[in-house]
Symmetry: C2
Subunit: 377 residues, 2 copies
Amino acid sequence: MADNKEKIVNQVDKDVDDMDDEEVDRNIAQEVLKRPDILAYLQDQYAARDYIRSLPAPVKKRVKALKKLQSESIKIEAKFYEDVHKLECQYHSKYFPLYDKRDAIVNGTYEPADDECDWPSDEEEDYELSKELKEKVKLEAGGNGKTKEQKLEDEKVAGIPGFWLTVFHNVSMLSEMVQVYDEPILKHLLDVRVIILEKDPMGFVLEFHFSKNPYFTNTLLTKEYVMKCEPDENEPFSFEGPEIYKCVGCKIDWNKDQNVTVKTVKKRQKHKSKAQIRVVNKIEPNDSFFNFFNPPAVPEDPNAEIDEETQALLSSDFEIGHYIRERIIPRAVLYFTGEAMDDDDELEEEMEEEEDDDDDDECDSFSFFLKHYHTTF
Amino acid sequence: MADNKEKIVNQVDKDVDDMDDEEVDRNIAQEVLKRPDILAYLQDQYAARDYIRSLPAPVKKRVKALKKLQSESIKIEAKFYEDVHKLECQYHSKYFPLYDKRDAIVNGTYEPADDECDWPSDEEEDYELSKELKEKVKLEAGGNGKTKEQKLEDEKVAGIPGFWLTVFHNVSMLSEMVQVYDEPILKHLLDVRVIILEKDPMGFVLEFHFSKNPYFTNTLLTKEYVMKCEPDENEPFSFEGPEIYKCVGCKIDWNKDQNVTVKTVKKRQKHKSKAQIRVVNKIEPNDSFFNFFNPPAVPEDPNAEIDEETQALLSSDFEIGHYIRERIIPRAVLYFTGEAMDDDDELEEEMEEEEDDDDDDECDSFSFFLKHYHTTF
């Protein structure tokens, strides 16, 4: 975060220094001068740095010694994060039996016994909206009052149909990606899993398991995320733990005319020399969840330039990959039921603020989660 | 987060249902109906829940089985977090030699050798503000052009004077607490350390080491934070890892008339029976950083009610304690130099957004820190 600030300050300097036009230069400075908040911020920054510059030489030398110690400390931190990652790998396999059972229940290959289902029902702790609100939000009738035939039909339903598609619908980060034409394909999604890569490279692979379907021949689509856990040599103090820096998709073997990630557009084309116009079919990219498996490539050369649009795409892709790994896979049923609707919601914050104004007698609402390890977006 | 939403929905229901006055009821509903964002949010929430209610009975049963599996999964998670905490305890001692050396350099009991100070200078990578901005932010002249006498004076300076006070100034969360009259006291602050408590209870103790001073007789002030790492029986799915739920301060043995946490106010008091008015001295609480060592008590009974003001105080206290442990102690020198000015700054976010609009050619700015373990506020 701190180095972002520095970037901004540098940017201001650059804006001001690099320009040929004195007038433009003056205008930018004028704009900044109008912003008391930015000024105060710069003042704090420069005051702190200037204070350091004004220190007697022997004290400055001691500050440098502290910085050298700090770089040692950050090396220990990096080692700690590596060990946490190892611990995560060890724990990973402990979840396998639970994930296997979830998979089996969702896809109807295992029917849980009564004692495996004794969990308090939502309806027992149910609540009701005011009549007017209820009408407005158009709640439909529940599953009661069914005929014997309907009940027999219900018995035939295997597993939990559309489980993962419903999960995707309830996570705004994913539902934004899912197009209408993706939905029939996603009904074939059987399971989402993660494999953690301990090292060389450190990372994780998201696995999307599909049933045999008319859209593509793959039964497994994968997305690999590669992480690094080393302080940057040039900016050691910006180190904050493991970092995703690269991802790799997979090739989807689409059946003929089933590829939803492209569309055919008819274009009128003028012949180079003759005065003819012909209509050609051009293949263009199409919005689809399945573009998730074809992310922009990250150049091997760490100093290569990447344009802004690609950076934004990668940044959002990394966030989605991390969210699937850390939140969705471990808590899928809570996204299915809506109990864990995603946190990435400005409205929610606003509503929380409104709530803060209310009286709230719950005694544990001040407790402070460290959010160790799990990041909430 | 998700259960906060539920609280809000419940609150809306409560607001609507509990009121005697039909008119008020109708008005609140009307207000909500005017907010398309809240409506859409409620609609999503109810749609998800209603979808669950509308599921055939056998499917509902399977969802319950998944929830039971989920509660097993959360028990494994809690165990994982405990092990991460253990790992943290093991790593903790690895930092001791570095912290000891920092302490010795800061307080002038150790003079680092030249090879311990070879760290690139800020001035070598220095940058300049435009002249106009520079004038505005009133940068003062650096430490150059000193006379021989001044240089001799500089040689006499021991350690890094005012190190911790400067750190406190550069962290807004702390500088807000520090009053003018706290500053001379904080000049006696020699070191800030943390002791990690592995278990029974899990937690940490912040230690503030002071030199002999005219204000109080203690040389060590402590603040203990107690954590828990168990899913709540009533709300197992809200578990997010270790959580601070309690803190304990310490008694400061103030010398006579030196206690800055209280002030004496003269109050006119009417005698109960006689018609006399007398002036009495009343002792009232006074703003001070040292109130940090006298936080509100948390009742032993977990079901006891705590008023809203106390909740807010505790919540902010926990955040400060966590920040001192996780950011300030491990990176003190970066707060001293201003390189790690704190992140808890709305302006910063705004500036980052502005920065996003600029061209930015750095190739690694899309990389995504997992912020594993260290929480950035």
